[in-house]
């Protein structure tokens, strides 16, 4: 009897284990694409019913996901509160924070995403979201959006939206321009020349090194793509234009071996060989590299417009931010800026697409663009915003804005879309080695070409 009961108990345990195993190994409800069949099982045309009340008013729940990083969240809070006032029938739920991309991942995976998403920060990738069919195609709808003065939104962007084979899946909200920061007071005191091109960059770095016995240039080695986006992209743009930039970003064959790319990489090697690049950068993370700059251990750092806002509490009193497009251009030619856009998009499976569209349309106004600069010290991607007469906007931003709008000084170039993480990661790895002096430019180019070849193979 005892043995029988034991057996039965064991049997029950076994069955439970088996049931669990079968459940674990069974496909989820998610559509499994096993060979390229169509997976567009749900169209986004389910709008209208409960989200629009009988008089056509927009109503219902609206979920907005936004990353909070160096720019803070005060602008978002103000805009959303204004939106709620304008659309009292809409109940907005905000999902925000510095790790919101990770926190919301399970919602995206389970097919229950928020309606509107601001794509920025670690753990988010616009390219990946487009590849995964997670974003609504906005091509036709965006054509109809107008600004306060009746001008078309699509004609009023400073930088063009990402282009995926002619289709539009996101609207670029933040115009983040990577450039090189320096301390204006320090330069004035020591009589350093603000560089205008690669030759003057080298000579200024030489002066700083000689005068202060430091390595003038720093970047974060833990995120080497800062150097790519902050220095290399503008350099490629200045030397080879949008075409070379597109080839590099898309991993085209031979892009790194073109004369222009080789010249750029040789310039980088020259910086390293001269000892101008901080040899400790390999260990520095985002904040540490920025702290190094603030503490005066280095004189140049290539990052985006977030720097002053993010490091506000740590800024030494006598430091005055100066911003220039990264001086990797041939001397005497216009400097190059390659904007890094942070877009706003609507989920393909948004539950309330009408309210989502209303929100996106609501956000893109020159009034909010000006407010954005006041709150964040950065620029929203709209032309014709008057920052010069706004005393709440920091000085460096007014100067940068003027520079960006002066084609004789600065030329703006565009990459078609952000580089895929699968291509950017191996190139970044080799880039650290180059910056630490463990690879020559030639070896780096070879490794970058191999990474591009592997990327093409995998796509």
């Amino acid at each position: 009897m005892n043995g029988l009961l034991k057996k039965q108990f064991g049997l029950v345990l076994m069955m439970m284990l088996l049931a669990l195993l079968m459940y674990a190994c069974a496909p989820d409800e998610a559509p499994v694409d096993d060979g390229g069949s169509s997976d567009e099982e749900e169209s986004s045309d389910d709008e209208g019913s409960s989200d629009e009340s009988s008089d056509g008013e927009i109503s219902g729940e609206l979920e907005i996901q936004y990353f909070v990083g160096g720019y803070g969240d005060s602008w978002w809070k103000e805009v959303i509160s204004d939106f709620e006032e304008e659309y009292p029938d809409v109940n907005v739920t905000q999902h925000a924070g510095p790790t919101i991309n990770e926190e919301m991942r399970s919602r995206w995976v389970s097919g229950d995403p928020p309606d509107v998403v601001y794509i920025d920060g670690a753990g988010s990738s616009e390219t990946q979201m487009v590849e995964d069919d997670q974003l609504m195609n906005l091509t036709e709808w965006a054509e109809g959006i107008e600004l306060e003065d009746g001008s078309k939104l699509v004609d009023s962007f400073i930088a063009e939206p990402s282009d995926y084979d002619g289709e539009l899946y996101s609207l670029p909200l933040v115009f983040d321009a990577w450039g090189t920061w320096y301390d204006m007071n320090r330069f004035e005191e020591n009589g350093y020349e603000v560089p205008q091109g690669f030759d003057s960059f080298m000579s200024t770095m030489g002066d700083i090194q000689e005068n202060e016995d430091i390595s003038p240039f720093v970047t974060t080695g833990q995120h080497p793509y800062y150097f790519s986006r902050g220095m290399l992209y503008p350099a490629f743009a200045a030397h080879g234009g949008n075409e070379l930039l597109a080839d590099i970003v898309q991993g085209a064959e031979g892009a790194w071996e073109t004369d222009e790319a080789v010249e750029v990489m040789n310039n980088v090697e020259e910086m390293v060989d001269a000892g101008y690049v901080d040899s400790g950068l390999g260990a520095l993370n985002h904040t540490q590299s920025q702290m190094n700059f603030l503490l005066g251990d280095n004189a140049f750092i290539p990052v985006g417009f977030w720097l002053p806002n993010e490091m506000e509490g740590d800024k030494p009193e006598d430091l005055q931010y100066g911003f220039i497009p990264s001086p990797m251009n041939p001397e005497g030619e216009p400097m190059a800026i390659v904007p890094d856009l942070r877009p706003l998009a609507i989920a393909e499976e948004a539950e309330n697409p009408e309210a989502a569209k209303a929100f996106v349309e609501f956000v893109f106004t020159r009034e909010y663009a000006e407010l954005f600069s006041e709150h964040t010290g950065a620029i929203m991607n709209l032309e014709g915003v008057d920052l010069a007469n706004n005393e709440n906007v920091p000085e460096y931003l007014i100067q940068a804005n003027e520079m960006i709008n002066d084609p004789e000084q600065v030329e703006i170039f565009y990459k078609p879309h952000p580089m895929s993480a699968d291509l950017e990661t191996p190139i970044s790895d080799s880039l650290v080695s180059l910056l630490l002096g463990n690879l020559t430019a030639e070896e780096f180019i070879q490794e970058a070409e191999e990474a591009a070849a592997e990327y093409r193979e995998g796509n």
């Binding site: 009961l5 439970m16 669990l20 459940y23 674990a24 998610a30 096993d34 979201m129 390999g282 630490l436």
Partner: protein, 297 residues
């Protein structure tokens, strides 16, 4: 009162079933779903995934970074086992045998890192290794060894060895306590007998202490190996993020990078399967290697 058989089995079920259900949900289910996902190409962020058979496994064998990550993991395993065991044993013997008055104080001091989160330890040691402000470089400069200073975590050669020190520092306390427990269970009469036979302290350690605490040593080694293979990821992720140029990536951190930074969740799951297989093989081998007859005097 005599318990009926039914009551007995009810009680058994009461003890076992909840645990088994928990174990199934939190251990078996992730294990099998990990295995399942390793056969898919999936970004980990969307609903669509494509069945690719053994493609991820083929990729695993062709990935040039994988052998490096395995080597880095076993480098950490070996250095940590040696470092922690030698130090923990040394301190445990000192605190139990040498009759130091301040023993309780030292016990707390050495155990202290164990109550700190690994993330805190990682950040703390990042400051210690900081090339400009850090304790290590300043210390070297102070004693006139300026040419030895270097950006420890930023060097492709030195970053991995630099991770060993904090890992050992963080690990000593727990094993010290475990071994101290073992040592204090040894009857004093063995040492007295050894002394009468003319054994010096060193001989007493090798012939009495070590054989009698072998079970604790074995458990400690196994525990260090398993936690290193599964958990070295944290310290790597915090201190170097796998860089510079993959020179500190361990299997776990590379899994994380593939699954969550490069959006290759399926491939990440495949790396997870590799970690499982390697951990199992290592533990089985260690069980064989460390097998010794139980010593009783």
């Amino acid at each position: 009162m005599v318990q009926t058989k039914k009551q007995k089995y009810l009680f058994l079920a009461f003890c076992l079933v909840p645990t088994f259900i928990m174990f199934s949900i939190f251990t078996l289910y992730p294990l099998f779903s990990g295995l399942y996902f390793s056969f898919f190409e999936w970004s980990g962020t969307s609903q669509t995934r494509e069945f690719v058979g053994f493609d991820n496994y083929i990729r695993l064998f062709n990935d040039e970074i994988i052998p490096d990550t395995v080597w880095h993991d076993y480098f950490l395993v070996a250095t940590k086992v040696i470092g922690i065991m030698v130090m923990a044993l040394f301190i445990a013997v000192a605190l139990t045998q040498l009759k130091i008055k301040e023993a309780p104080f030292y016990r707390i001091v050495f155990f202290f890192p164990n109550i700190m989160s690994v993330v805190v330890i990682g950040i703390l040691w990042m400051f210690i290794y900081n090339p400009n402000l850090g304790l290590v470089n300043s210390g070297l400069e102070m004693i006139g060894l300026e040419e030895w200073t270097r950006p420890w975590l930023g060097s492709e050669t030195w970053a991995l060895p630099s991770l060993v020190l904090p890992s050992i520092w963080a690990g000593i306390g727990l094993f010290m306590l475990l071994l101290m427990g073992g040592i204090s269970n040894i009857s004093k009469s063995y040492y007295e007998a050894a002394k009468i036979d003319g054994a010096n302290e060193w001989q007493q350690f090798w012939k009495v202490t070590l054989p009698l605490i072998w079970p604790q040593i074995k458990i400690s080694i196994l525990y260090i190996v398993i936690t290193t293979l599964n958990g070295s990821f944290i310290i790597v992720q915090v201190m170097t993020g796998g860089g510079p140029n993959n020179s500190t990536h361990v299997m776990g951190s590379y899994l994380y990078q593939q699954a969550f930074t490069q959006y290759n969740f399926g491939y990440g799951a495949t790396i997870g399967v590799m970690i499982l297989v390697l951990s199992l093989i290592t533990v089985v081998l260690l069980q064989l290697l460390l097998r010794r007859d139980r010593v009783e005097y």
